[in-house]
């Protein structure tokens, strides 16, 4: 079994089928049993079945922790940003507003912020997080860099993101297509029925400098 340090989390929305196995499995996790920390949303269901799973990206310099007035959010030595510490968290919601990925949530009934901790009880001992274990499309993948390079030759892991002037690097990687030849996603059956397909598809334009996908509908 690889050492926990060698294992990384990779997200590939291209593969996601929106089945919610991750969401259902997340509620089984020991650190937040009964609550899912994963956000799985349709991007725009009227026009597409595209869904995007969002787990905590576990930033190297977590904005949520930087803005926390109570110093309640800690990043452990292995790079995992933990949920707010109960004795410190004042449920102010600064982290919710500040997180560029929209991950943390304040649970008003408990007066605490909770979020994905990469199944710390599992991943800290070399096991896969629940979501990445069960994911039937392996849009959520947990493994070594060598494994992802061998298994996913069509895409590359990216962990540097630009938000305005802020550059963020993360412990979790997003998989982005290596070339533009990736088939355009289909959104409208009517377009596929035409002999000369109309420009009615979503195209992902991936730039080298900016790993963020620009979406044209």
């Amino acid at each position: 079994m690889p050492k926990p340090d060698d294992l990384h989390f990779f997200i590939d929305p291209h593969r996601c089928i929106g089945c919610q196995a991750c969401v259902q499995a997340c509620t089984e996790c020991d650190t937040h049993r009964g609550e899912s920390m994963i956000h799985l949303e349709y991007v725009n269901r009227p026009e597409s079945v595209q869904t995007v799973p969002v787990v905590c990206m576990h930033c190297h310099q977590p904005t949520c922790a930087e803005v926390c007035p109570a110093d309640a959010i800690k990043r452990t030595g292995d790079g995992v940003v933990q949920s707010a510490r109960k004795p410190r968290c004042i449920a102010c919601g600064n982290c919710v507003v500040a997180c560029p990925f929209g991950v943390p949530e304040v649970y008003e009934d408990r007066k605490i912020m909770m979020k994905c901790d990469m199944c710390y009880d599992r991943s800290s001992v070399g096991k896969k997080p629940m979501c990445a274990t069960v994911c039937p499309s392996q849009a959520l993948f947990f493994g070594t860099r060598e494994e992802i390079e061998r298994l996913r030759p069509l895409s590359a892991p990216v962990n540097t993101f630009q938000f305005g002037g802020q550059t963020i690097t993360t412990h979790v990687y997003m998989m982005v297509p290596k070339k533009l030849a990736t088939p355009a996603a289909r959104v409208d059956v009517a377009a596929a029925m035409d002999e000369q397909p109309r420009n009615r598809v979503v195209s992902l334009r991936v730039l080298n400098a900016d790993p963020f996908a620009e979406v044209d509908v």
Partner: protein, 756 residues
């Protein structure tokens, strides 16, 4: 029985479906399980390996089973939450009798009295009207041991020809086509073979929602260079990013396959050596295809010519390929021809029986494969034997220790059994693992028939919608309360292990069947003490048949993590005893099978596969001026079949609470239907009112409704009871309908919870 024993709302109030949730020990993080039981999911035909956490005779959670080779820990949402079906408030823990004075219409009774009553009613009806007055309906979610026992029970104990099962609604079109083309009814290859192939063509298969684990095989194949072709009237999640999407009009699949084969013939993209050496019948198929010119195929199927040409180019010129199909092409009055059309594409390519080249149907039900092999089908005996074949009858009669002349002949399909009930020919019914009031088409007819029965006994763990009509309900076992084998989608026999005991008076289904036999005074052949004993007899019964399990043992299944049949106890060439590992890949060149005896790889005496003319016929009750829209039906990922189990699991109900009408914005705008508002879909059978979901991911001439709900939410109120003439599968996937904004919310909206 003329009426339900109580108002439906009172039955629902007492027996559900209510929702289970994570509570008590299932929510606690301080409670450790006593043990982990390695077993499989109880739902679809993928049969993912899973470990159940057990404590105090209760399943309290799950742990992924990452060593099991098919799914390696992966699970869909149903698998993740399957453990919440146990310790459920709706669980039947006693026998019930119909009692209109009781709240909910049923009162508890001692198990022994219930068995005595069932036996006396069967005895009475058979004495008055003959053995065929009793029918048995069974299911493909049962273990293979139980399906074997039920087939034997019908023929030997009840002596009735009338047994059939809900696989009739699932795999029979593919099964009939497979037998016609290959002489054997099984997927050709393990799923691992997909990774490394050049083209995967999935026809009528919503892979992502109906067989989610197969998704990773498709995506992984693509990473290694495969192109994915999806043929479907909807952009399902697997179609969203496929390489080629064929937006076929519902019910036009045979035409599509013929048109593509015609292009391949014109361009000479054929494997002539394979066709000459290993097949028969190509010329007739080629002759039929000449009428399927590209313009005509495009016109009939609704698929652009360019897309058809692209499909033919990729399929015709590939070196390795996989063709998969599912209910989308099989649930048709032309389902066998549709399946045969796809097989013709495979045979013309010669890409079968080799690494990275295969063909198969993706089974839908848990034991969709094993359940269709060992005799619960109306015309079949164990080992995929034929009940009309004198040799087969003699062999099985010998195993069962009865005179061959005492074995009844073929019965009729499940729907025809209801027509026999309607005509008064079948007067008594025993059902298990089948909820026809929800799952059969035109189910108002089914409901009327249930009310005509003189006696009906249902075996189940929850009171399903059909069992509302029962006189006696016997409390059976949940999946985790018994052991046995199941054969999953790849043809791999796997082991279901018991995790907990049955609660209260409930007991294992095979015990209940045997108790009825004993109470009837016909215990001969029904004195098994365990599923293992049943399996040992099944091994003998299947020996020499096409589905030969004779070399399979519980130990081998556990050690190998599955055994692919055929698995022989004796070398079919020499007759010498062998330790056979099973047959992961069928039809390899030079392979030996018991039918061809070395003359070729296929399961016919000459060893050759058969091309069959796969003729396109328009659907019955097709769209018309009066009913201009196509209605098609299917599944959602969080629910399973008639919902008896999944509509009782809280987190799954929350994921997709109620059925909706999927409709394209272009059609919705024309009809004045708005997203989220009530709409009524009407066919020649009746009407259904549900909320509309306006999406561009469906053909503008088609609407889609999922089928997992009961009563007024059941789409099978309006589907057509047309059947394939060979397989007898109902035409669930298309009928003509019209749609309009509803006059207002339906009556049920104010009184029922979403799952009810």
């Amino acid at each position: 029985m003329a009426q339900l024993p109580a108002d439906p709302l009172r039955i629902i109030e007492r027996f559900g479906p209510h929702l289970s949730s994570m509570a008590g020990v299932r929510l606690s993080t301080s409670v450790e399980p006593e043990r982990l039981v390695k077993t499989h999911c109880c739902f679809c035909g993928q049969q993912c390996g899973i470990q159940l956490k057990v404590r105090d005779n209760q399943v309290i959670g799950f742990e992924p089973w990452e060593e099991f080779p098919f799914n390696r820990g992966m699970l869909c949402p149903k698998g993740v939450k399957r453990y919440l079906q146990g310790s459920h408030p709706d669980r039947l823990t006693t026998a019930l009798r119909r009692d209109s004075s009781a709240p909910g219409g049923f009162s508890s009774m001692p198990y022994a009295d219930a068995i005595a009553r069932v036996a006396s009613e069967i005895g009475r009806l058979q004495q008055a009207h003959g053995p065929g007055a009793i029918g048995v309906l069974s299911g493909a979610s049962l273990t293979t041991e139980k399906t074997y026992l039920l087939g034997k029970f019908a023929r030997v104990c009840l002596k009735t020809p009338f047994i059939d099962y809900n696989g009739r609604l699932c795999m029979v079109s593919a099964g009939a086509a497979n037998k016609k083309a290959f002489g054997i009814d099984r997927v050709t290859s393990p799923w691992d073979d997909m990774v490394g192939t050049e083209v995967i063509w999935a026809a009528g298969s919503n892979v992502a929602e109906c067989s989610p684990i197969t998704t990773n095989y498709l995506w992984q194949a693509r990473e290694q260079g495969a192109r994915i072709i999806i043929q479907d009237p909807r952009i399902t999640p697997i179609a969203r990013t496929c390489d080629l999407y064929l937006p076929v009009k519902p019910g036009r699949d045979a035409a599509l396959f013929a048109g593509v084969l015609q292009i391949m013939i014109e361009r000479d993209w054929l494997d002539h050596a394979f066709i000459d050496e290993h097949t028969t019948g190509f010329d007739k198929v080629a002759e039929y295809c000449t009428q399927w010119t590209l313009p005509r195929t495009s016109e009939v199927t609704g698929v652009p010519q360019a897309a058809l040409m692209q499909a033919a180019e990729w399929w015709g010129q590939a070196r390795t390929s996989f063709l998969l199909h599912a209910r989308g092409i099989e649930h048709h009055s032309n389902g066998v021809e549709n399946s045969l059309g796809s097989i013709n594409l495979v045979l013309a390519s010669g890409r079968i029986g080799r690494p990275h080249s295969g063909y198969g149907t993706i089974v839908g039900q848990a034991n969709g494969q094993g359940g269709r092999e060992h005799g619960q089908k109306c015309d079949q005996l164990p080992g995929l034997r034929d009940i009309s074949n004198p040799d087969h009858r003699r062999y099985i009669a010998g195993v069962w220790g009865v005179d061959e002349h005492e074995l009844p002949g073929p019965g009729v399909d499940a729907y025809e059994m209801f027509r026999k009930i309607d005509r008064g020919e079948i007067k008594g019914l025993i059902s298990i693992c089948f909820n026809p009031k929800v799952s059969l088409p035109d189910n108002a007819f089914v409901t009327r028939c249930l009310d005509k029965l003189e006696f009906y006994s249902a075996i189940d763990f929850f009171l399903n919608d059909t069992a509302w009509h029962a006189d006696i309900v016997l409390p059976g076992s949940l999946h985790e309360e018994d052991e046995g084998t199941v054969t999953q989608v790849e043809g791999r026999i796997i082991k279901i292990n018991k995790a907990v005991d049955c609660p209260g008076d409930a007991r294992e289904d095979w015990r209940i069947i045997q108790d009825i036999a004993r109470a009837l005074g016909r215990p001969h052949g029904f004195t098994f003490e365990s599923p293992r004993e049943i399996f040992e007899e099944l091994r003998v019964a299947s020996k020499g048949g096409v589905a030969d399990y004779s070399g399979v043992t519980y130990e081998k299944v556990t050690e190998q993590m599955g055994v692919f049949w055929p698995c022989y106890s004796e070398d079919p060439r020499t007759g010498a005893a062998i330790d056979h590992p099973g047959t992961p890949r069928l039809f390899e060149r030079g392979s030996y099978n018991a039918v061809a005896k070395g003359s070729g790889p296929f399961y016919f005496p000459d060893g050759r596969a058969r091309f069959n003319v796969a003729e396109y016929r328009p659907p019955v009750d097709d769209a018309s001026d009066e009913y201009p829209v196509y209605l098609t039906t299917g599944r959602v990922v969080s629910q399973f079949l008639s919902g008896t189990q999944t509509r009782r699991i809280g987190p799954l109900v929350k994921q997709y609470p109620e059925p909706r009408i999927e409709i394209h914005p272009r059609l919705a705008a024309r009809l004045g239907i708005k997203d989220g508002e009530w709409a009524t879909a009407e066919t020649r059978r009746g009407a259904i009112t549900l909320r509309a979901q306006v999406v561009t991911t469906i053909r503008p001439d088609t609407i889609f409704i999922p089928y997992h709900w009961a009563g007024k939410k059941s789409v099978n109120q309006v589907t057509v009871a047309a059947q394939d003439p060979v397989s007898k599968i109902p035409q669930y996937k298309v009928c003509g309908c019209r749609v309009r904004p509803a006059d207002g919310p339906p009556d049920y909206a104010a009184v029922l919870e979403p799952q009810q």
